[in-house]
Symmetry: C2
Subunit: 530 residues, 2 copies
């Protein structure tokens, strides 16, 4: 398919302006390589003139050979006081030695007066001169017309003039920036039409792009509309990370362009990896992925309502706007308040349990489920605990040990050192063990002592490890007395499973999830031996 639009990612620059979104140098390098694998056309890596971490990034990224991505350095027009060749910011861009450079300049007269505090004519001058100075040093030069839409609404003639000077300066592309995110789709197209008319009148064939923000929750729509009107560069970030309410979400824009609108770009054939890449970025930023996120969210193809579930079983098209696998996502059927028998049966089948809808066990499970959910249990991330619940209702599985008691002690000495110790007494088939372990926190100490005690009897527990431990406070009105939900994710060489525990006491909630996790591992191995 023809390559008729370029994907320009600014997660590493504009994205890091987001609250709670911080990336280390290492993270930025790994994300760049991941985007190159996916086939992103431009990766804006940072602002070398403003941030030493970014200078470091450009030095490091040059050591890697990228298959496709054009790494791009971002910066502002020169200071009016400086001649271009003496402007630190412009020279930092050249020093970054990137195939792409993007320069932003002011479009909006109030910015020229209030932010730069210079004359309108002087702003036009620094736009043209900054670009002219950079032009010979770079392969692809983008001009970001900051606040273009607000500037246009305030003073269209001046907005045009800034574009004209960027063209004169030698820009390859004019990115129209909807910086404050306030422009609605109902006003956007008229402005783009006017710009196209202006460029036509000037007989300019320069390409234009779109850079939108999500303050009106319209960034994706505005970007798609702009591309449909001829924009050939679309700027945004992974998962829409960005200042305030975020940038245009490329994770939603790319599948719409490729799978719904028929546009071509290098990443288009790789969108079956979109979910993986989206979660990769969230994990490196240590943010849990947004489960409601379009296309890639855990809930994006999840079905809860009873009717939906049965309809989707018959024909997925009925309640899904696309095939989840095309973006690397999967269909999920949720266990929940609304869950009727049909949901439970679907789940059972997935677990290889053969249940009949008339079997009284099914109603019993649905009832127990509702009770547990009222206590705050959630099985959406704890399939293993749910399977154990079902199997217990069906009389299996066996109990692998009897707890006689445990004790967890945290002691802080006057010198401020805190130490945890857990002791546990349990019996397997009549034989009792009494062990102790130190730990890094009370739950870790308990976890270690429990495994130490059980590994004697079940050596295969050595294969499993706890991968993730999440705590959520349920009712927020009781301070430290609130109920907590603990979610534990475990894995061994061939699978991963989640378990859950709920209690006002974090030790008790963790204990429940730990015991479920170990029980699940032992049960799974027994079945595999069969």
């Amino acid at each position: 398919m023809a390559q008729n639009v370029a994907i320009y990612d600014t997660t590493l620059r504009d994205g890091t302006q987001a609250e709670n979104f911080n990336l280390s140098l290492e993270d930025k390098l790994r994300i760049t390589l991941k985007f190159d694998e996916l086939g992103i056309d431009f990766v804006e890596g940072g602002w070398p003139g403003s941030n030493p971490k970014d200078v470091e990034y450009f030095k490091e990224i040059r050591k890697y050979e990228l298959k496709h991505t054009k790494v791009t350095a971002f910066g502002s027009t020169r200071l009016f006081a400086n001649p271009a060749e003496q402007d630190g910011n412009l020279n930092a861009l050249i020093a970054a030695k990137t195939p792409g450079i993007t320069i932003f300049g002011k479009t909006w007269d109030i910015h020229v007066h209030d932010a730069l505090r210079i004359e309108l004519a002087d702003n036009l001058l620094i736009i043209e001169e900054s670009l002219k100075y950079l032009r010979p040093h770079v392969q692809y030069l983008t001009y970001d017309a900051e606040h273009f839409f607000d500037g246009f609404k305030a003073n269209p003639e001046y907005a045009y003039a800034t574009l004209d000077r960027a063209i004169a300066g030698g820009a390859d592309c004019l990115a129209l920036c909807e910086t404050n995110g306030g422009t609605l789709p109902t006003e956007l197209s008229a402005i783009i039409d006017a710009v196209k008319a202006h460029l036509k009148a000037k007989k300019s064939t320069i390409q234009f792009g779109i850079h939108a923000h999500n303050d009106s929750e319209c960034a994706v729509a505005n970007s798609l509309i702009a591309v449909s009107m001829g924009a050939t560069q679309v700027q945004g970030t992974a998962n829409g990370f960005g200042e305030r309410c975020g940038n245009a979400n490329l994770t939603s824009i790319m599948p719409a362009l490729a799978l719904k609108m028929g546009y071509g770009f290098t990443a288009a054939p790789n969108l079956h990896r979109l979910t993986e890449v989206s979660h990769f970025v969230s994990e490196l930023a240590n943010l849990s992925p947004n489960k409601y996120q379009p296309y890639v969210g855990q809930s994006a193809f999840a079905h809860k309502g009873g009717i939906h579930v049965s309809a989707v079983q018959r024909n997925p098209l009925t309640y899904e706007h696309m095939v989840p696998e095309k973006v690397g996502n999967v269909r999920r059927v949720l266990i929940s308040d609304l869950s009727g028998k049909s949901n439970v049966l679907v789940k059972a089948k997935k677990m290889g349990l053969d249940l009949d809808s008339k079997d009284p066990v099914v109603s019993a499970i649905v009832k127990e489920l509702k009770d547990l959910e009222n206590q705050g249990f959630q099985y959406e991330g704890a399939e293993a605990s749910f399977e154990l619940l079902m199997r217990r209702a069906m009389g299996t599985p066996k109990k692998y040990f009897d707890l006689h008691g445990f004790r967890v002690m945290s002691q802080k000495t006057p010198d401020g050192v805190l130490q945890e110790e857990a002791t546990i007494r349990l019996a397997v088939g009549g034989e009792e063990v009494h062990t102790a372990a130190l730990g890094n926190g009370p739950v870790n100490a308990l976890d270690k002592s429990l495994r130490k005690a059980l590994t004697r009897f079940y050596p295969n527990l050595k294969e499993m490890e706890l991968r993730d431990y999440k705590v959520r406070v349920l009712a927020s009105e009781h301070g430290t007395e609130a109920r907590v939900r603990v979610l534990i994710e475990s894995r061994d060489q061939d699978s991963m499973w989640g378990t859950v525990g709920v209690s006002p006491d974090i030790i008790e909630a963790s204990w429940q999830a730990l015991v479920d996790s170990i029980t699940y591992k032992l049960m799974k191995d027994e079945q595999n031996r069969k």
Copy 2:
């Protein structure tokens, strides 16, 4: 201003299809009253035919006198097998005794065949007959044309026919439903134009509405475009809660319609309460509000980048698309990785600290901040810990007690009972106390023993309480050894404050946040006494 569009909220019905979004009967009643205060025109309360909890809701809500809101019951067209007067679902709608009823019917031929499994003509029949039967019993009757846009793309003539029969059945409004959320703004308007032309040709003056889902991240844009094309009813949910990726977000649609597009509706003059109402719904559902949410999110008017901060100081318009107070939100300046001195100075001023940008203390604070943030500290929700950090850098505040040590013990007996006890030794002005307390979990026990020890010396601690206790696991790769961040929110009669602690050990992290919280309270009271 003329009332030219009706706001139709389905948080209580379609919204509750969202994963992790569950509301009790009590919650649903409280939300209805809150929406009535705000001036929402229609509140779709539930589906009495499908859910006993909803029958209860309609019985209860009738006991309240609402100022403005038309409570609406939702249901499907009758089963083909039943005559209307014997259809349980339709009679449940009548029994709900609501001023509004909304019936959904099938538009899309594959649904008629695969979901209903009846003939196309039979579907037309049940649409008309169901509406005719309900018409005399209700003040406002809406027809939800389910999957209208997908149905239209597949078979426009049949889609028109379903609308014609809904008109014949006596509907007041035809809500065009974008049920699967797959239709893009670039295709929506052509379909709406065609529908308008069809209605015109039929000489029908019936009103039409829009019901959009967010699977393509375009629900808000699609809704705004539809209203701009003449839709007089816009359906959606608070915060966009809803199945999969959510429904159209009324919390973003209302401010755009009223404050940007100039439409009139009853809630328009009350939008300064929008943030309050948005958070109210999240809190009742026990979900933490989405901080990046447009208009009402904590980050929606937050500024992180150094330049932005100084520009916003001079002229808020430069980086804000609207005045935050119009939607009940506020501007925030963030302390963060990118935070330069200017951010710190702004914060200091807010705290009444008079700092000079040349004061070496400022650079010291910025440096300490970066170190702590690298350890995982976040001050965005912990202003009190940040103030203490600043004051410590400036030599205040004094130390209110010396810790000699504490011990927290969790003991589980063979009968499964878990009990926590904390003992603590500390001294105030040379006088030592040694106390103990039982608690509901280790942190709660520690909290109680600490207060017990200190209240003897500082009786004003009785006025404060812990309101919220949040735990976040930072690095997710080390199971129970991961670092945790604890956020504590405290309050007394006249203020609220947040404090933070970080450690691989939840006891240690909690201890840090507890001590900051108490220190802040004591310092605050001292200053007020001055």
